[in-house]
Amino acid sequence: MSDREFILEMKNISKSFPGVRALQEVDLKVRPGTVHALMGENGAGKSTLMKCLFGIYAPDEGEIVIDGEPVTFQSARQALGKGISMIHQELLPIPYRSVMENIWLGRYPTVGIGPLQFVDHKRMLADTQKLFADLKIDIDPKTWVVNLSVSKIQSMEISKAVSYHSKIIIMDEPTSSLTEKEVAHLFEIIRRLRAQGVSVLYISHKMEEILQISDEVSIMRDGRLIGTYDAKSLTTDQIISHMVGRSMSQRFPHRTNTPGKTLLYVEKLTSVVPTSFRNISFELRAGEILGVSGLVGAQRTELMEALFGLRGIASGSISLRGRKVGIRKPEDAKHFKMALLTEERRATGIFPILSVADNTLAGNWGSYVQKTGLLNLHKAHVDIERSNSQLTVKTPSTKTLMQNLSGGNQQKVIVGRWLLTEPDILILDEPTRGIDVGAKFEIYTIIADLAARGKSIIMVSSEMPEILGMSDRIMVMCEGRLTGILDGKSATQEDVMRLSTQFM
């Protein structure tokens, strides 16, 4: 254990991305042999800060001091060399390799003479067994990783971190997919690490856990560090007010929509995946904007994709205008005049190597087929031009490849694609993710305008101001369950946050 007061000091760290100041003058100090929790809303800058520490991003300003020594990392490998390791939110082991090969990947012990070196499996096994014994982890080092549960994989990753003789281990949402029992086991391992003098930087949304495991809590908001507090003296309410206590700085367009008759009625909808959403009931009116809020793991996207026929439903029903409908594939949803703007624009939204024109009409060409079977390309072109000018898409031409447009303009093209299908219900999953501030306002304006024209909008968002600023009603989910529906005018950030963490 180091005898310094702080094992890690991040001083005055700032980091900007085009259009966003992700971190502003952040000072984070971590004591040796402690569990230090890092909290904040989605987008508060926690992950960016950790990536700066781990050498994935280079901070624009500021200094990182580890055990008294100033460091600058160009890569994760260098960070590992200085005793920092990170257990990622999404674990990325090699599935069809043994546990021990995963742990010692890239630094296998070898035996041999001179340049003739072979992997020393015997020593690798012995080292792994010793590692597991120290941490009281019960995994067969020779089993394939694909056979392990998520919590076992996590234990493996932690052992790997320990094997680097790490002084600081970063854990990003380590409990998001663990059962209660597994969480208890994880905490045992964390306490054992702490007793050995290792510092754990623990990122989580879960209040109870934080208060249970951590010694100190640092809270971030809007890219700034609000403060570092002693965990013993903190309450859940205090954490929430520190996390959300900002004034609304973003502006939203004036909305003139008036919710009308009920259009969509969802009753007791339950996913085929047991850990996903269950027993969800809500209604959506014509001309209404329904915000859907929740933290990572609330299963909001899964619910939306199920409504659109991309995921399976075990039980429950969906009714449109009072009639039950079966939606098994996106084609069906489209037939019922629904549209889905997906969360992952790159993965499931755009066709990067196709033109803006082809992106605008992807999936919609059916309405341009003439009697001859050929497409009416003239009419298509007129519609593409009109859609682009209505949504103010900035592109050199409709022949420009989609990949050359900015995120905001790509998003507008996809919105345009859906509007050309003349939908009644638009499901927008994180419509402003990865879009700069100016373009955000344009997207908000489009949403408000659509609602005013009688379209029903479901807007999933992880950004609190967006939810509060745009919604007529706010539906809040936590761990696959619906925890409440709030009125958009009277709801406060604290209300939403409380419902978002109800089962945590």
């Binding site: 659109f308 991309l310 594939k329 996106p330 084609e331 489209k334 889905l340 997906t342 993965a347 499931t348 939204g349 755009i350 066709f351 990067p352 190597i353 196709l354 082809d358 009409l361 992807a362 999936g363 919609n364 060409w365 059916g366 341009y368 087929v369 079977g373 050929l374 497409l375 390309l377 050199p396 050359n404 694609r417 299908t421």
Partner: protein, 346 residues
């Protein structure tokens, strides 16, 4: 992105460079023709050029089947064997009545169109099976068509097998049939327009229409560019894939019949490794094996490059063994040049 406007009229170097990058493949073809013509002037004799186009006609039909499959991120290794099978089917039904070793000795005379349609339908059946396995069972196209490639060879061999003689070539084809691939409209003693080139031109036109002017064509590009996004936007992925394989099968069937007619016979070995030539022609012509990128014009250019190269090497008297080496080098070099226009500076 934009180049500064030229201060005085004239062509800027950057424009030349851009033009060269965009049309690199066509330039490769032109340079190949010019160099060969200088070294061996007989290369440009009309008869030789017509001959090149006649051979290219059958290859372009196969490549236009393979191309759309590549556009959907797939690949069809069974193309060559399907051409072989359908060639055998067409040939077996079109042997002269007086030929002494007919496959079906009692077969009556039938109109030309029937066997050709049957060959096309056999190709469609292969495409339906390939497409069905790829789309519904989610077996990767490479594996699916690797399997069907081997199976189709077995089927074709059984079809022509005549125990105890084994698989013999199917010869003695009717003159009206062989005339389809060898006959021509004669203008002068030198200049003629072979029927097979007309057939290829019609196929080219139809495939161009399909890829550029129909809903299916747009969906093919969308599936190749981002299958997940295509599904979300309402494209039916399975239907699109199956149709692509069916169309390809139909084209292989047509090519099989034409090839049997051209060589006046068919064997179970006909078409062996032709799918590799088709894939090579497509990628030379700028079709991306990652899907979503490629044009009919590019595929035609790719086929012509391969055929011009084959012919040029023969005309120039290059050894058969060297021809293989040069062919391989040109495939890699052509794609290496063409891909420059997609590599973005980081």
């Amino acid at each position: 992105m934009s180049t500064p406007a030229p201060l005085k009229p004239g062509i800027q170097l950057s424009q030349v460079r851009e033009f060269a990058a965009k049309n690199a493949i066509v330039l490769v073809l032109l340079v190949g023709i010019i160099v060969t013509a200088i070294l061996q002037p007989t290369f440009l004799v009309p008869d030789n050029l017509i001959n090149i186009l006649m051979i290219a006609s059958i290859y372009v039909i196969i490549a236009l089947g393979e191309g759309p499959i590549l556009l959907t991120k797939g690949v069809d290794l069974s193309a060559g064997r399907t051409v072989g099978l359908t060639a055998c089917i067409a040939a077996s039904l079109l042997q002269r009545i007086d030929y002494d070793s007919r496959i079906f000795p009692d077969l009556p005379f039938m109109p030309l169109v029937v066997p050709i349609v049957l060959a096309v339908l056999a190709g469609v059946a292969v495409g339906l099976i390939n497409g069905g396995i790829v789309s519904f069972l989610k077996v990767p196209p490479f594996i699916t068509t690797l399997g069907s490639m081997v199976i189709i060879y077995g089927v074709a061999s059984l079809y022509v097998d005549r125990p105890p003689h084994g698989a013999l070539p199917i010869g003695g084809l009717r003159d009206d049939f062989t005339n389809i691939s060898n006959g021509a409209i004669n203008f002068t003693s030198d200049i003629r327009l072979p029927y097979i080139i007309i057939i290829a031109a019609v196929v080219i036109f139809l495939m161009w229409l399909l890829l550029n002017k129909t809903r299916l064509g747009k969906n093919i590009y969308a599936m190749g560019a981002n299958p997940d996004a295509a599904e979300v936007s309402g494209v039916n992925p399975n239907k699109t894939l199956i149709l692509v394989y069916i169309i390809a099968g139909a084209l292989y069937g047509l090519a099989g019949a034409l090839q049997a007619a051209r060589q006046g016979s068919a064997t179970n070995n006909l078409g062996f490794t032709w799918e590799l030539d088709a894939i090579a022609a497509c990628v030379i012509g700028g079709v991306s094996t990652n899907g979503g990128v490629g044009t009919v014009g590019g595929i035609i250019t790719g086929v012509l490059i391969m055929q011009v190269m084959n012919n040029a090497l023969v005309v120039l008297g290059v050894s058969v063994y060297w021809q293989q080496i040069v062919k391989g080098l040109i495939i890699v070099a052509a794609v290496g040049i063409d891909i420059r226009k997609y590599i973005r500076k980081r």
